[in-house]
């Protein structure tokens, strides 16, 4: 336990870094996937190719990708940016499918009604389609968020500090408690972040909750 007392500050720092390395890819992934997914379901042929390449991207193993990206970007292998880029790619790959499905399942009548009431394509997308797709997008974000928090730890193998560093250190020092601490911290961080997404969803999509309780 004295190890925990002595290292509490450092674990806090690692958790904070870990948080940033997890949040940034999910947000970037969402910002890319929503417009592209919206476009993809309106243009099925090219959109299908796009969704297909997204799922191929997701099959690429994380550790190899973490060592390939710095060579492409010209960054140092120790640069945290590599982790952000790789995890953003995964987030886009997963959320692209979610976004396309979310927009595709909107009731035809609602979209037509928006057109009939004089909404331009942009107004319709932003004021009608995006809010209605919100709950499905949120569900996708929660799945991606959990797996991203877990994947960040792989970065510790190439020297990017985060809670995963507790695994590599604990392993080298043959100290089980440090690894268990890391596992607990990672799971807690994933839960915390999930709670934040749910909270954000309630603030931004208040109707989603009333809909569910009415059903």
């Amino acid at each position: 336990m004295s190890w925990l007392d002595a290292n509490l500050g450092r674990i806090g720092d690692l958790a904070l870094t870990h948080l940033w390395l997890s949040v940034l890819p999910v947000v970037l992934g969402l910002l890319v996937a929503v417009p592209v997914g919206w476009w993809a379901q309106r243009h099925p042929r090219l959109g299908g190719v796009l969704l297909g390449s997204g799922s191929i991207l997701y099959t690429l193993p994380s550790l190899p990708l973490l060592t390939i990206i710095p060579v492409i970007l010209g960054t140092s292998i120790l640069d945290p940016l590599n982790v952000v880029v790789v995890l953003s790619l995964y987030a886009v790959a997963l959320l692209l499918r979610t976004a396309a499905d979310a927009f595709a399942q909107l009731p035809r009548e609602v979209v037509d009604a928006a057109d009939a009431t004089g909404h331009s394509t942009w107004q319709r997308a932003l004021r009608v389609e995006l809010p209605l797709a919100g709950p499905v997008l949120l569900a996708g974000v929660r799945v991606v968020s959990v797996s991203t928090v877990s994947l960040v730890t792989v970065g510790a193998l190439i020297g990017v500090s985060n809670l995963g560093s507790l695994f590599t250190e604990g392993f080298q020092r043959n100290y089980t408690f440090e690894i268990v601490t890391g596992l607990v911290a990672v799971v807690l961080l994933a839960l915390l972040l999930d709670g934040l997404w749910v909270l954000l969803g309630r603030l931004l999509l208040p109707w989603a909750r009333t809909e569910r309780s009415a059903a």
Binding site: V71, T168, V186
Partner: protein, 218 residues
């Protein structure tokens, strides 16, 4: 700088010295595939009967969903290092961890596959006098096959990816080039190893995509 790493990786891959012996690409590739097959076979022996039972009876479904969901949150590197400290260096620890990670996709493929079968088809089979066992083996499993194969696809790719990480705890396989390369700053070797793993993942995924398609057609 980055161009040099690419050129270096190209030279590394075309150097015949890296294609023979116990540390050569073919040996490491076989090792990697061997671990993958061993892991998925053990995991399937556990997950398939369980998943088929859950899908057929509809019992414990909530537990299975919660289990597959929460295992996604578990960091693979943490599990691998922890298991090795518990079980000790050797094959048992890493394989055990890899099995734990590949059970959820196989389980999900099996129960989701059975759930996707139309209830009317099953009732019709019962009406024709099929026993429960016949319903399962002659109706449900054949119709669920594409999703069951999909479960194998996710599990295999998951293991190929995680086995790379497991080189850190001494499992061997293709991940050795990556881990050693980073440790001794031999980035061309790291990149070469990464490219081999990526090609392996893409080839396996394409193979499973074809298998899924033929399972859906038959």
């Amino acid at each position: 700088m980055s161009d040099n790493v690419f050129v270096g990786a190209g030279q590394w891959l075309t150097d015949s010295a890296h294609w023979s012996g116990t540390d050569g690409v073919p040996a490491r590739l076989l090792e990697h595939l061997g671990y993958t097959v061993l892991t998925v076979v053990i995991a399937a022996a556990i997950a398939l009967p369980l998943g088929l039972w859950i899908g057929h009876t509809g019992r414990l479904r909530g537990l299975a969903v919660a289990l597959t969901g929460s295992l996604r949150a578990l960091p693979t590197l943490g599990l691998l290092t922890l298991v090795v400290l518990w079980v000790g260096i050797g094959l048992t620890g890493p394989i055990l961890a890899l099995v734990v990670l590949s059970v959820p996709p196989l389980l999900a493929g099996a129960y989701a596959g059975l759930e996707s079968v139309d209830r009317h088809t099953i009732d019709a089979a019962r009406g024709l006098g099929f026993t429960e066992w016949q319903v399962l083996t002659r109706v449900e499993i054949p119709l669920a096959l594409p999703l069951i194969v999909g479960g194998f696809r996710s599990a295999v790719l998951q293991v190929v990816s995680t086995a790379t990480v497991a080189a850190y705890i001494g499992l061997g396989g293709l991940g050795t080039y990556l881990i050693e390369g980073v440790q001794i700053r031999d980035y061309p070797m790291t990149l070469a190893g990464s490219l081999v793993v990526v090609v392996l993942a893409l080839v396996l995924d394409a193979g499973f995509a074809l298998a899924q398609r033929s399972a859906a057609r038959s």
